[in-house]
Amino acid sequence: MSFGLSAAAYDRAITIFSPDGRIYQVEYAFESVRRGWTTLGLKSKKAAMVVVEKKKISPLVDENQIQKIFKIDDHIGSSFAGIASDGRVLIEYARQEALLHRLYYDEPAPVEYLVKRVCDVKQAYTQHAGVRPFGVAVIFAGVDDQGTQLYMTEPSGRYLSYYAVAVGEKANVVSEFMEKNYRYDMDVKETIKLGIQAIASVIEGKPSSELIEAGYVDVDSKKFVIMSRSEIDSVLQELAKEGKIKL
């Protein structure tokens, strides 16, 4: 342990507080998120979306089959940064909760309801013995009867509603970009373009649809769609034509 004597014993079990009220294992879980692939969520009046940067892992990995954007239900999509297997499990759980809501009430689950269910699980894993916290931040983007919704859930189980939120490696750069360029009254097209531009601008080298995945839901259709390679390519082309990115 690289701490001084006073801190050394407080990360052996996650259920133990340090004297200054911190739970080290939960804070380490945030570190997994910080090292994750850059993931952005944003919402405008008309649409909510998630965009991620996909990284080259190895030439032998079939990257076309790596999925980073997930449909939770017709009206909600999500993505995450951090430990992929932890993320996958929470996505599965969210899907199940969304289906159960439809089963019980014959109506789509509100986005916050789903976020709360996922965060209940995350919270439990910061308190129970013999477990470790989830090393992921999951972003949920959706549309419900309150309009567009965007939430980011932390490993601690805390969640907040955002206009735009970025997690992962280059979260700071993307957040700065969003602070400068974000408007709430964007239309669907503008929202998609801004999201893809933000992620494209942090990609090392040439941005391409191979390295970007995106999904969006608009208030009119209320259907979350994962964008195809060619759709992302044409957005990149447009952005390049406008001089916003270099291809």
């Binding site: 089963l103 019980y104 009430y105 014959d106 109506e107 509100p110 309801y113 709360k116």
Partner: protein
């Protein structure tokens, strides 16, 4: 043959709201145990449920639905819609499939629009414009069917429901003693209660 569930309850949906009507008799093997039973229950400010069948079962279901509706409101920050409550009741009823609740239920409300649903003892869920439940249902339904118009004012629908309940009371031994109403509009639920005999309070 299917068991006949004692009592008569009516639901009518019009373009301006929903009317529930029910009589007030509780029978036990040919004996009138009570002349003043409620078979119609408001669940939220805009959704109500009505039952024909065993009083114990309907009171139990009412308590469960009331609690579930409260929980829904706390979790979702708004009242549960009639459609959702009906679906939930359908699942509850189906869970007792092997030893069913002896009730038929009608769920109605005014959320975005007036809505009316009917459920059988094991939870099959149907959307209807008007319906009648219980041992007096055939007598009552024939009256409702003749007088029903979708655009009828709520007051007229209430009078039609009254006529139908009185027809059931007249010829069905398991129904009688008084009439309850729930009138559901965008503004909320209004409840009215009438006794038929002097000794029935």
């Amino acid at each position: 043959m299917e068991a006949v569930l004692p009592g008569t309850v009516i639901g009518i949906k019009t373009s301006s709201g929903v009317v529930f009507a029910g009589e007030k008799r509780l029978t036990y093997d040919g004996f009138i145990l009570s002349k003043n039973v409620r078979k119609l229950f408001p669940i939220t400010d805009h959704v109500a449920v009505g039952f024909a069948g065993l009083t114990g079962d309907m009171n139990y279901l009412y308590r469960v639905l009331k609690a579930e509706a409260k929980r829904y409101e706390l979790e979702h920050g708004r009242e549960i819609k009639a459609r959702s409550l009906a679906k939930l009741l359908s699942i509850i009823l189906y869970s007792y499939k092997l030893f069913p609740m002896l009730t038929e239920a009608v769920v109605g409300g005014f959320d975005e629009a007036p809505s009316l649903y009917v459920l059988d003892p094991v939870g099959s869920l149907l959307e209807e414009r008007y319906t009648a439940l219980g041992s007096g249902s055939q007598l009552a339904l024939s009256i409702v069917e003749q007088g029903y118009r979708e655009d009828m004012p709520l007051e007229e629908a209430k009078n039609l429901a009254l006529k139908a309940i009185l027809a059931a009371i007249e010829r069905d031994v398991l129904s009688g003693d008084g009439v309850d109403f729930l009138l559901i509009t965008r503004e909320g639920i209004r409840s009215e209660e009438y006794m038929l005999t002097r000794s029935s309070s």
